[in-house]
């Protein structure tokens, strides 16, 4: 009897292994029905591939200057043109993908994981712990996001590591909030009481029972967060407060070369921006599709 009621209360994610494989296949099929989401997934995969295999794909070294070929328009030799130092744009954009994706993924991983842990703790423990953590989250959220990232980078100095740190901090509250509400919902479910009744410790309950229910919103937040983080890293680099030159970064390319030569060499201003837009677009579409697929199941 208890076994049956448990199965109906627990979505497939936590069920037995055979059911879990079936759930994954269902998930994949449902995601496949959303063409925009699949498009986003494909583009994101291409970007990640580009980032990983940058040294192999890029036609030139992004730092190499070719002083004979300054500001060449896109052509056979330099597929997307060259900048004022004679560096190949295409190579710089390919290597820029590395920075953007590295910063995007790492900061989201750090920020959402820290936020998720705080949210888990907050939702499960309740009471004073919950209140204290929520106050902290409110304080962080009281800042406009870019301004907070700016302030942290201003204080700590301009480097890739500090940008990652700043972005992670800014991402914590949202992840915490979403995971917390899942955790609260789960904590009140019957099977948690049942687990406690048979003597399961709090840690075990947290990780074996509560955590899997929070996975879906976490995935949604994380995917959307990557798009956002890429945008903010580009913005910071554009302001000169992100990835320090000459490391190729899409935002940095738009500020130095893009601003100064927008009229005489428009390709310098167009392609890096296009790259940023494409990346953010892809992850946003993917995030939207994931939310459509995962959310209705949660509501049930």
């Amino acid at each position: 009897m208890a076994h049956h009621s448990m199965e109906s209360a627990v979505p497939a994610v936590v069920a037995a292994p055979a059911a879990r494989n079936q759930a994954l296949r269902n998930f994949a099929r449902r995601l496949g029905r959303k063409p925009l989401g699949v498009a986003g997934l494909v583009v994101a995969a291409v970007l990640i591939f580009t980032a990983i295999f940058a040294p192999l794909i890029s036609p030139y070294d992004p730092y190499d200057t070719h002083y004979g070929d300054l500001r060449q328009p896109p052509g056979l030799k330099y597929l997307l043109g060259s900048d004022q130092f004679g560096r190949d744009q295409l190579s710089r954009i390919i290597w820029g993908a590395r920075i953007s994706l590295y910063v995007g993924i790492v900061s989201v991983a750090l920020g959402t994981t820290a936020g998720a842990l705080l949210g888990l703790l907050s939702g499960y423990a309740g009471g004073k712990v919950d209140l204290a953590i929520q106050r902290l989250m409110d304080t962080i959220q009281a800042f406009p996001l870019l301004v907070l990232a700016l302030t942290i980078v201003a204080a700590l100095g301009t480097s890739v590591g500090n940008v990652i740190l700043a972005l992670s901090v800014v991402l914590v509250p949202q992840a915490a909030r979403v995971v917390r509400s899942s955790a609260i919902a789960v904590t009140q479910a019957q099977f948690v009481d049942a687990a406690r009744a048979i003597g399961a410790g709090n840690v075990r309950i947290l990780f074996v029972h509560v955590l899997p229910q929070c996975v879906a919103p976490y995935i949604i937040i994380a995917t959307a967060g990557i798009g956002w983080a890429i945008l903010v890293e580009a913005s910071l680099s554009f302001l000169g407060l992100g990835t320090p030159p000459p490391i190729p970064s899409w935002g940095g390319m738009l500020s130095g070369e893009g601003q100064n030569f927008a009229q005489s060499a428009p390709w310098l201003a167009i392609y890096p921006g296009l790259a940023i837009s494409l990346a953010v677009f892809a992850f946003s579409l993917l995030g939207d599709a994931l939310r459509d697929v995962l959310d209705p199941r949660l509501k049930r």
Partner: protein, 318 residues
């Protein structure tokens, strides 16, 4: 209603305090010696111990932390938060001149974004799943994905490249010379408005879709009312509430975007001032501007909450 207002106002105070402490802590966490960093970094061997000590005293770094914080808060509340490290002028001077520029940009941007987003959202909902809907949805996601500084750069390129026209240099305030001023501010507002309109139009669309499914809309149809009357008199009024909230939430994005857009269009606003102060390590200015921005953001959020409660009586009683 009054109790709600008072309650929310009181709740805002600890948030503001928390914000000020956070800013203070972040700025004090700067690794290394602040005075040394300001005077030229570790490589500057020409910096004497005397100069260091002078600067440290001037910045009040020798006092205990809570005293420094108290001093800063006291000064801030009196509208005199210290002096710029570079120019020596009071920070308030820097802020006073730049604030109106940013304010005008913000107001125009919100106006532009609503002008773009509301019609798009309504039309998208009315013609759901038709090509009109898809076109509008792609266009509005473009607003989210395209970095606002790129949109700004593209606008400038189009203005100069296609029309051979550039906004007049040398910023003019609105009251100095309205014509020139609008010419200068309209383009960054367009860029920002487009950027903001994305979220608002998506929210408008989904809210309209939900409202259109309601029974009272069906009643309106069966009464024989025309589509436009139904849309604007009945549907939009009910759908507008979360849109108000989203617009308020967008304010945070707006401020971030303002910083970027001001740099692209070379507007002497608070954003430009902030970035320049960061680049030259003018910490008093950075501290003050960030505090100001955060305080405004908190107050705007509060205002939006109150507006929402006023518009929707159901909220007040929860």
């Amino acid at each position: 209603m009054q109790r709600y207002i008072i309650r929310r106002l009181l709740l805002a105070i600890p948030v503001l305090l928390g914000v000020s402490i956070t800013i203070f802590v972040i700025m004090r966490v700067i690794p290394g010696d602040v005075a040394l960093a300001i005077l030229g970094g570790e490589a500057a061997s020409g910096v004497s111990q005397e100069q260091l000590n002078d600067l440290r005293t001037q910045l009040g770094l020798n006092k205990p932390l809570y005293e420094q914080y108290g001093q800063w808060m006291w000064d801030f509340v009196q509208f005199n938060p210290g002096k710029s490290l570079q120019s020596g002028r009071p920070v308030m001077d820097h802020v006073k001149n730049t604030f109106p520029v940013t304010l005008e940009l913000v107001i125009l941007s919100i106006a532009v974004s609503l002008l773009i987003a509301l019609p798009i959202g309504v039309l998208s909902a009315m013609r759901q799943d038709t090509w009109v809907d898809y076109v509008f949805r792609v266009v509005s996601i473009g607003g989210l994905a395209m970095p606002v500084f790129w949109t700004g750069t593209l606008i400038i390129m189009v203005l100069v490249g296609t029309f051979g026209w550039l906004p007049p240099l040398g910023y003019m305030g609105f009251f100095e010379n309205p014509v020139v001023n609008i010419q200068q501010v309209i383009w960054p507002s367009l860029a920002m408005g487009y950027y903001l309109s994305a979220a608002v139009s998506r929210m408008t669309r989904s809210q309209m879709l939900e409202v259109l499914r309601q029974d009272y809309i069906r009643t309106a149809w069966s009464k024989g009312l025309r589509e436009r009357v139904i849309m604007y008199r009945h549907a939009l009024k009910n759908a507008i509430l979360p849109v108000v909230t989203v617009t308020g939430i967008q304010f945070g994005v707006l401020i971030g975007g303002a910083v970027l857009v001001e740099i692209v269009f070379v507007l002497p606003g608070m954003g430009t001032e902030l970035v320049q102060a960061i680049l030259r390590r003018d910490y008093p200015i950075v501290q003050t501007i960030v505090m100001l921005i955060a305080a405004i953001y908190v107050l705007v959020n509060l205002g939006v909450d109150l507006l929402y409660a006023w518009l929707d009586p159901r909220i007040r009683y929860t």
